[in-house]
């Protein structure tokens, strides 16, 4: 296949990111023309079309081999501060598919609310930042793109401004976010002090010869890891997650817990794999993969145990999202100098893609339940399947897929992740992950049991069918199912993209 970059100018490699940003601007322009009317259909349509176009371009680039080893390697732009390669395109695909589903679902969720254009443009601006996070090749771009993703998210969490829970969640998210941004910036400055560069490639070559400054470099690396732990909702910066996901409008919870988390992992994968190579830093005593191994175990155990004790379904999903951050952290934990690192990280990337569909779908189902005003606890879901069998079937798919049961996408992605961890010699990480998965089946099946087996406590008054929400939930369910047969090519793409980072 002819390399793509010989046909198009090099800057078009960031076209997926530009498309997301452009869609946000178009939404603002449409709202400027006539601010007083809401036009929900047009706005949701523009947002969905924009994200689908991004998905198409990013998917096309990924299949055509743009920036991958087959066609000349990563494309560096602006002096290396932006890098387009398999990893960035892969995560742009994840973010764009989540945004498409969330925009589709928001059409019904936002009905009769004001400030709809602002909602969609904030979602797309955050998505621009998330897609940029995957492509940042310098610590400066890492910080800017992380802020571009975070700032709209704070506003979106507090979008229901008459709702106390939403405002409180927004404030907590903002405060924890501000602290962790400060920690991240401080870490970046320490790494800069020790290595004299912000470019990841230069940091990698200079960090080995830090000499006396090894302590500073070590503290800097730990602080950068802390900043990413916030974005991925991992311990020790996880405690905003349950509040924010529960208080936020449910489509935003879906967006944050899937796309934002995936973007956080994208940037963490690149910074740690490219910037701080294990071969160079482990002999200096900075073993960040051990740090991530501890974080992974604590995060998945804490997330799963906390999820098992919840009575509120949305809060249960929020804690399960923390648990899944622990599984994905295996991609950073089960690494060693010279081990099959690309395979482990690739399996983690593939898990995040599958998670993007199943978790978005689960939160969008919650959005539908909120739209119906059914209630929030497990008991309120009793017998829901008698009234809405199709939606409950989709939710069952999401729950069993999140738990990692066959025959759904989540089974293969978890299996691949644990298998690769064992191949890398980290059988204990895989064992903890498997035990946690078994535990998670308990609380996921509670939802299924409530919906299908329990008798309804009262009459449901569901009203008209929310078409957009239904369509988005169905798309997510079909995606979760299709990722089972399609998992082979997905994981191969992810693993070759991740292997390129370690080369």
């Amino acid at each position: 296949m002819t390399p793509l970059q010989t046909q198009l100018p090099t800057w078009t490699a960031v076209a997926p990111t530009l498309l997301l940003g452009l869609t946000a601007l178009v939404l603002l322009l449409v709202d400027s023309i006539d601010p007083d009317s809401t036009r929900p259909g047009a706005l949701a349509g523009i947002a969905t079309l924009g994200s689908l176009a991004t998905l198409a371009v990013a998917g096309w680039f990924l299949l055509a081999g743009t920036g991958q080893t087959g066609s000349g390697g990563a494309i560096e732009l602006y002096g290396g501060s932006l890098v387009v390669d398999g990893l960035s395109l892969f995560f742009t695909v994840v973010v764009a598919s989540v945004v498409a589903m969330v925009s589709l679902a928001s059409y019904d969720y936002l009905r009769d609310r004001t400030y709809q254009a602002e909602f969609y443009s904030l979602v797309l601006l955050a998505a621009t930042g998330m897609s940029l996070m995957g492509s940042s090749g310098s610590l400066a771009t890492v910080f800017i793109s992380l802020e571009l993703a975070s700032l709209p998210s704070y506003a979106l969490v507090a979008f229901l401004k008459d709702n106390r829970g939403s405002v409180e969640a927004g404030l907590k998210y903002f405060l924890v976010g501000a602290v962790s941004s400060a920690v991240l910036t401080f870490g970046i400055s320490l790494v800069y002090a020790a290595t004299g560069s912000l470019l990841l490639a230069d940091v990698a070559s200079a960090v080995g010869s830090a000499g006396d400054l090894v302590g500073i470099a070590g503290v800097g690396i730990v602080m950068i890891a802390g900043g990413f732990a916030f974005k991925t909702a991992s311990v020790p910066f996880h405690f905003w997650a349950p509040e924010a996901y529960e208080g936020a409008p449910a489509p935003i919870s879906a967006f944050l817990s899937s796309a934002s988390k995936a973007a956080g992992f994208a940037v963490a994968f690149r910074v740690f794999a490219v910037g701080f190579p294990l071969d160079a830093v482990v002999p200096m005593g900075i073993d960040w993969s051990l740090l991530f191994a501890i974080l992974a175990v604590v995060t998945m155990t804490l997330g799963n145990f906390a999820a098992a004790t919840q009575e509120n379904v949305k809060r249960m999903l929020a804690y399960s999202s923390v648990g899944h951050a622990g599984y994905a952290l295996i991609g950073l934990a089960a690494l060693s100098g010279g081990g099959p690192n690309g395979n482990v990280m690739g399996a983690s990337m593939a898990h995040l893609l599958v998670y993007g569909f199943m978790n978005t779908g689960a939160f969008l189902f919650i959005a539908m339940v909120e739209h119906w005003e059914v209630g929030r606890t497990f008991e309120d879901y009793n017998g829901l399947a008698t009234r809405a069998p199709a939606a409950c079937l989709a939710m069952t798919v999401f729950m069993f897929s999140l738990a990692g049961l066959p025959p759904f996408g989540g089974f293969l992605s978890k299996y691949a992740l644990f298998y690769e961890a064992i191949q890398g010699g980290f059988w204990w990480l895989a064992a903890v992950g498997a035990i946690n998965s078994a535990l998670s089946l308990f609380y996921y099946s509670r939802v299924v049991k409530a919906m299908w087996i329990e008798d309804p406590t009262g009459e449901f008054d569901l009203g008209a069918t929310p078409v957009g929400l239904y369509a988005a939930v169905m798309v997510a369910a079909v995606g979760t199912l299709l990722l089972l047969p399609a998992f082979g090519p997905v994981v191969e793409t992810a693993q070759s993209a991740a292997t390129a980072l370690f080369a």
């Binding site: 601007l25 603002l28 322009l29 709202d31 400027s32 601010p35």
Partner: protein, 137 residues
């Protein structure tokens, strides 16, 4: 000698000198009790009300819009400095001009949106206008 001793000494001096100055002047100065010294502003301005007042939220909108122009200026300045020399060294007009036009275009879209949505309209609250009429009568 450990170099941290020097830093510690600097810290001791930095805290010690101001305290010593205040103590010495308190010991030396004559104590003349005068009412004028106890007021908030010795220039004679008599403060009215407390300092804990709520500012109108619309000032924050103005401040946010100001940031648009502020950041714009910060980034245009270095650009103007390299503009001529970049052209002389063979960059095309499009290469030099287009990025800045795109940047300003993005800001204009945002400003236009804020303008259309009434961010620059000063809305008087009913309470404020009522108070004004009370004062006039």
């Amino acid at each position: 000698m450990n170099q941290w001793i020097a830093i510690g000494a600097l810290g001791v001096m930095g805290v010690g000198i101001p305290i010593a100055m205040m103590v010495v002047s308190a010991l030396l100065r004559p104590s003349v009790s005068e009412q004028g010294k106890t007021v908030v502003y010795e220039s004679g301005e008599v403060p009215t009300g407390t300092a804990h007042v709520q500012f109108n939220i619309q000032y924050y909108m103005v401040a946010l819009l100001f940031l648009v122009f502020d950041v714009e200026t910060v980034l245009i300045f270095p650009w103007t400095l390299i503009y001529r020399s970049a052209l002389e060294q063979g960059a095309t007009l499009g290469q030099v001009l287009a990025p800045m036009l795109v940047f300003i275009g993005v800001l204009v879209v945002g400003l236009g949106w804020a303008w259309r949505n009434g961010a620059v309209e000063w809305i008087k609250s009913p309470r404020a206008s009522r108070r004004k009429t009370e004062r006039q009568s």
